[in-house]
């Protein structure tokens, strides 16, 4: 390999992924094979290969493109999570897309492009690359949400997401320009050093507020969450699964790097924002979900709540906190994909159903499915020894170590409230008269459910491996 190329080695996974997405597009356009799973499986392979490329990289931090992109252990950890989340979400999509008659090659291509954006978000090291990566990811997601063009709900979801996303992009850009105006630099390191020497001022803090609000929109944190229930419900279910998993990881990666690398000097300010947003998300996630009858809407509120819990770790502002967030995200992705595998299995002759009431008495028809779903829901509620317990344990511990006792207590209390709606579903499945049976679960869903279920159920055995990895990754930020 020529030395001129070798310096770009750290970014090879993204380059490979982008080129492969183009190649896949060409294959789709010229292959003529329009209604097929082949492009989808190819995309899964590409993601796996990208993951392998990330894994092959040597540890340590490298900056590229004049500091616009950084590749370090933290970025690699997040990228692997993103790739895994995208890959499994793609595997979940095939059967649904065929049923809905939208099994098109564009779907995996767009998903791959979105994944490229997400990976770059995890590596973004200045305001420009941050915005570029975010937009690449977002635009692809807008399209995916509206992918079922003949469905009004799907189109509405895409449009809403797009309009509000544009608004949030505007806020973000405005914030970026303020920060640039007050510091004279785009790079995170530069901003940090300016703040270190000259201190903060109100203009800069305004900029910070706007940037954080733009990011909070991507996280679907309160009060920038309003799109979430509508989009989750309207978008085709595999897209919802996709949306709920990897993009959250990317947005968190971006947020963590931004606040820890660019704004450590004004930590007291951004911590207040993070805490406010976290509290709002935990409360709303717990309370609003109770009133839902549609399981996808419920998952929307559930994800809002989970974002709130993960933000607790960021609010701690310590390496332990970041470690906690990373563990939380890893477990969250697994649980979410497993749950969506169950939701996608809610299929009758007439098509997919989304009403929670349809789950009544599931334990009698499909005891294994009911058990897995119940287990995943228990895990989401944070019942030990399931994985979800450890997710919450590490962020709350970090908060307590940082002196944020009340935030941890609030997190536990809202967890209790959220347990209510998880239990409500479980009680429906186990203690109510059975509704009509679902169609047998397709093999791909079984596969995803088995993998995620086993991880959720038995993570407590090798939990130390995850903790060690997250610890090492978190250390690269500090």
């Amino acid at each position: 390999m020529p030395p001129a190329l070798a310096i770009y080695a750290p970014i090879f996974p993204e380059i490979f992924l982008a080129l492969a997405a183009m190649a896949l597009l060409m294959y789709g356009v010229f292959g003529g094979d329009r209604e097929s799973e082949v492009p989808g499986w190819l995309a899964v392979l590409i993601l796996a290969a990208t993951g392998a490329l990330v894994l092959m990289q040597a540890p340590g931090a490298v900056q590229l493109f004049d500091g616009a992109v950084i590749v370090d252990d933290f970025a690699r950890f997040m990228k692997l999570l993103i790739l895994g989340g995208s890959g499994f979400a793609l595997i979940l999509s095939f059967d649904y897309l065929r049923d809905a008659k939208i099994l098109k090659f564009e779907f995996p291509v767009i998903a791959l492009l979105s994944t490229v954006g997400m990976m770059l978000m995890a590596s973004a090291n200045n305001l420009i690359s941050l915005y570029m990566a975010l937009e690449l990811q977002s635009l692809a997601l807008y399209v995916l949400c509206a992918f079922r063009r003949d469905s009004v709900l799907s189109a509405e979801a895409g449009l809403k997401y797009f309009v509000l996303g544009a608004l949030s992009s505007g806020l973000l850009l405005y914030g970026c320009s303020l920060v640039y105006g007050f510091t004279g630099t785009m790079s995170f390191a530069g901003i940090a050093s300016v703040l270190q020497t000259s201190g903060s001022n109100i203009g800069l803090v305004f900029g910070l507020v706007f940037i954080l609000c733009g990011v909070a929109f991507k996280l679907s944190a309160v009060p920038f969450h309003m799109w979430t229930p509508d989009v989750y419900q309207g978008a085709p279910t595999p897209v919802t699964a996709f949306l709920a998993a990897a993009p959250k990881v990317a947005a968190f990666a971006m947020l963590i790097r931004l606040v820890e690398d660019a704004f450590p000097a004004v930590a007291t300010d951004w911590k207040q924002i993070v805490i406010a947003v976290s509290v709002g998300s935990m409360l709303l996630g717990a309370f609003a979900a109770i009133g839902q009858t549609n399981i996808k809407r419920l998952m929307a509120y559930s994800s809002i709540g989970h974002v709130g819990y993960a933000l607790v770790g960021i609010a701690a502002g310590t390496p332990e906190g970041v470690k906690g967030v990373m563990i939380y995200l890893a477990i969250y992705v697994v649980m979410t994909l497993g749950t969506f595998a169950c939701i996608l299995a809610m299929r009758r002759k007439g098509g997919h159903v989304e009403d929670i009431a349809e789950l009544s008495g599931l334990s009698r028809h499909q005891p294994m499915l009911a058990f897995m779903l119940a287990m995943l829901l228990f895990s989401m509620a944070g019942i030990p020894p399931l994985a979800g317990f450890f997710a919450k344990y590490f962020v709350f511990t970090a908060a307590i170590q940082a002196g944020l006792f009340w935030l941890a207590v609030l997190g536990v209390l809202t967890s209790v409230v959220s347990t209510f709606y998880y239990l409500a579903i479980i009680s429906k499945m186990y203690f109510q008269e059975p509704a009509a049976n679902f169609e047998p679960m397709p093999g791909k869903l079984r596969f995803v459910l088995a993998v995620t279920g086993v991880i959720t159920l038995f993570l407590f055995i090798p939990i130390n491996l995850l903790v060690t990895a997250a610890e090492a990754a978190a250390r690269s930020l500090f």
Binding site: V205, P223, Q272, F287, I290
Partner: protein, 648 residues
């Protein structure tokens, strides 16, 4: 050997309890009976070795509790006191086991019954072999549990369940005092081991301790607390209410637990702790007073009862009072002697009553009996033997033991003991009267049962043989035992197992009582017999006339001095009222209302409001976002400008 004596019943209980269903009823009964009989024979061997040959023993079983200063090992303390109890418990228990094979033969859950009986025996043996207070307490609670299970054995009968609960709850009151006493002993002595306590007890004479904010005499306080436990277990006045109700259990249970063994645990405890009690004269006076009161109280009530088992139950209560009087006046050996003889004749009476009940197909009311001496002559003869022994007919068991108690009460010459003496004399009269009343009502006169449908028949031999053994005990135990227990072999027999102070020569005094004192119990016995004979044989109309004439007194006695009603009024009803209030208002309205129900209702309210915010309009959503950002920006503007202006 001693370990075998203690653990054989446990093995039997486990076999019958765990495998009883698989074994079947008859084998379960046979196995437990065989084990118990072995235990009983070994107990007599032990009695011979310890009591007569003087070989005390201490057998460690295991290290048990080791927590800070508190150390308790599980070991068997074998001295004469233990040996006497071993003989009593195992003999009666073995006989009751054998008797039950016949008595319970129509019951559906015999293995359970035998398992409970054996479990009880094990717990009782734990109690009597205890080497420290904790071990004693463990056996104490174990017999309480077994008693509860056996009273409620016929759990489908509501009255049996109520009686079982009553026994348990009333015993809780006593056990509370007992537990406090143990805590107090540990606080004062720093140990719960008998030897250590007894060794240092003399150092604490006259010292005071703080209890409930008062400075009280240490030993008196401790002894009284421990005695509260004894009162509960031994059904002494005010805590006696559970014993008559406990007759709801099967009759063999009444014989074993509620006559011969468990109820005497309180007496045993005082005897075992005699080194403590002997140093607390005030406590001893209380023991005397309570004992005498119980003796007379139970005797007066017993004379007005019509249920054959209840009469005997009150008789038991009364005799326990006698034993406590003996303890209270410092004649521990006299109390133990009466305990020993009482076990035989009271078990005989109970099992005989069981035989009568069996013959009449579960009829317990004396008013529905009569004339039975012709149809069940053996039972009649045995019951008469039991009655003779109970009333103290010369040279039967009761004659020696009960009369000794009356004599020592006289010899004590304190005011309380003097009162006790007269009360016991009166009680002796009443004892004779109600006992013969029972015999006359059941076995003489014309049959008052339905002769066309009920044909009384003698019980099978498996039930009668144990009765013969007990009858032999009732006749000869007193004569054979008197020299050892209270006579010239006293020192050689007890060898310090019972502690008596240097000034305590009560038995010697008693031997030199005036003749009228020696003869008075016998006179009372005869007087009681004459009154009963007159009322029920010579002039059978007497009772009706008496009841009519002394209606309030009869009602008072018949209703057991209204103590149950009093408790119902003072404790049960306010308690139920309070519970209802706590349930309805405390739990229902306050805890549920503000707690689970209230919170969940508020959660739903919040949910509804939040959900209503989700209108579906994009501009509303954008508005919320902008409001959010405006709030955050305003907050920081405020914070920064406040800082800014502070600078000027």
């Amino acid at each position: 050997m001693y370990s075998a004596i203690v653990f054989l019943p446990l093995i039997g209980a486990l076999i019958a309890g765990l495998f009883g269903r698989w074994l079947g009823a008859r084998p379960a009964g046979l196995i437990t009976s065989a084990l118990l009989t072995t235990g009983a024979v070994l107990s007599w061997v032990a009695f011979y070795r310890v009591g007569l040959s003087g070989e005390d023993a201490r057998i460690p079983i295991m290290e048990w509790v080791r927590s800070g200063e508190l150390q308790a090992n599980w070991s068997l303390r074998i001295d004469t006191l233990t040996a006497v109890m071993l003989v009593v418990v195992n003999t009666v228990s073995a006989l009751v086991h054998i008797y039950s094979i016949g008595y319970m033969s129509h019951d559906d859950s015999q293995p359970r019954f035998f398992a409970y009986l054996s479990l009880f025996t094990f717990a009782m043996l734990m109690l009597v072999t205890a080497d420290n207070l904790l071990q004693l307490f463990m056996g104490w609670e174990g017999v309480g549990l077994a008693s509860y299970l056996l009273i409620g054995f016929w759990y489908h009968k509501p009255s049996a369940n109520a009686a079982a609960i009553k026994a348990f709850v009333v015993n809780r009151v006593g056990d509370f005092g007992f537990a406090l006493g143990i805590f107090g002993v540990f606080t004062v002595f720093g140990t719960i081991s008998f030897d250590a306590i007894f060794a240092s007890a003399p150092d604490h004479v006259g010292k005071t301790m703080e209890f409930l904010g008062y400075q009280l005499d240490t030993l008196t306080t401790l002894c009284l607390l421990l005695f509260v436990g004894a009162m509960g277990k031994s059904a002494q006045f005010l805590l006696h209410t559970w014993l008559p109700d406990a007759m709801e259990g099967p009759t063999p249970v009444s014989a074993l637990i509620h006559a011969a063994t468990m109820v005497t645990a309180g007496v045993f405890m005082v005897a075992r702790l005699s080194p403590l009690f002997e140093l607390a004269p005030v406590a001893l006076q209380v023991v005397t007073g309570i004992g005498a009161l119980t003796a007379i109280f139970a005797a007066t009530v017993g004379i007005a009862q019509n249920d054959i088992k209840r009469v005997i139950a009150y008789s038991t209560c009364s005799q326990l009072g006698y034993m406590f009087v003996a303890m209270g006046v410092g004649a521990y050996s006299a109390g133990m002697f009466h305990l020993f003889t009482h076990a035989f004749f009271k078990a005989l009476l109970f099992l005989g009553a069981g035989s009568v009940i069996h013959a009449l197909h579960d009829e317990q009311d004396l008013r529905n009996m009569g004339g039975l001496r012709k149809s069940i002559p053996l039972t009649f003869a045995l019951m008469v033997i039991g009655t003779l022994a109970l009333t103290g007919f010369p040279f039967t068991a009761g004659y020696f033991s009960k009369d000794t108690i009356i004599e020592v009460a006289y010899a004590r010459e304190t005011e309380v003991a003097n009162w006790a003496f007269w009360l016991l004399l009166a009680a002796a009269f009443l004892t004779s009267a109600y006992s013969w009343r029972l015999i006359f009502m059941a076995f003489f006169g014309k049959p008052r049962y339905d002769e066309h449908h009920v044909h009384p028949h003698e019980s099978p031999w498996v039930m009668l043989v144990p009765l013969f053994v007990l009858a032999a005990g009732a006749l000869f135990a007193g004569y054979l035992g008197k020299d050892y227990f209270v006579g010239e072999d006293y020192a050689h027999f007890w060898r310090g197992a019972l502690f008596t102070g240097p000034d305590n020569h009560i038995l010697e005094h008693a031997h030199h009582s005036p003749a009228w004192v020696v003869w008075s119990p016998t006179v009372m016995m005869v007087a009681g017999f004459v009154v009963a004979w007159f009322s029920y044989i010579a002039v059978p109309s007497t009772p009706a006339v008496l009841i009519k004439t002394f209606k309030p007194i009869h009602a008072f006695l018949y209703n057991k001095w209204y103590i149950d009603e009093l408790y119902d009024l003072i404790f049960v009803r306010p308690y139920i009222w309070l519970s209802r209030q706590l349930w309805k208002i405390g739990d229902g309205r306050i805890i549920d209302g503000l707690g689970p129900d209230g919170i969940s209702a508020r959660v739903i309210d919040v949910t509804n409001r939040v959900v209503r915010l989700q209108t579906g309009f994009v501009y509303h959503y954008a508005f919320v976002m902008l409001i959010g950002i405006a709030l955050i920006v305003s907050y920081f503007a405020y914070v920064y400008w406040a800082q800014f202006w502070k600078g000027y």
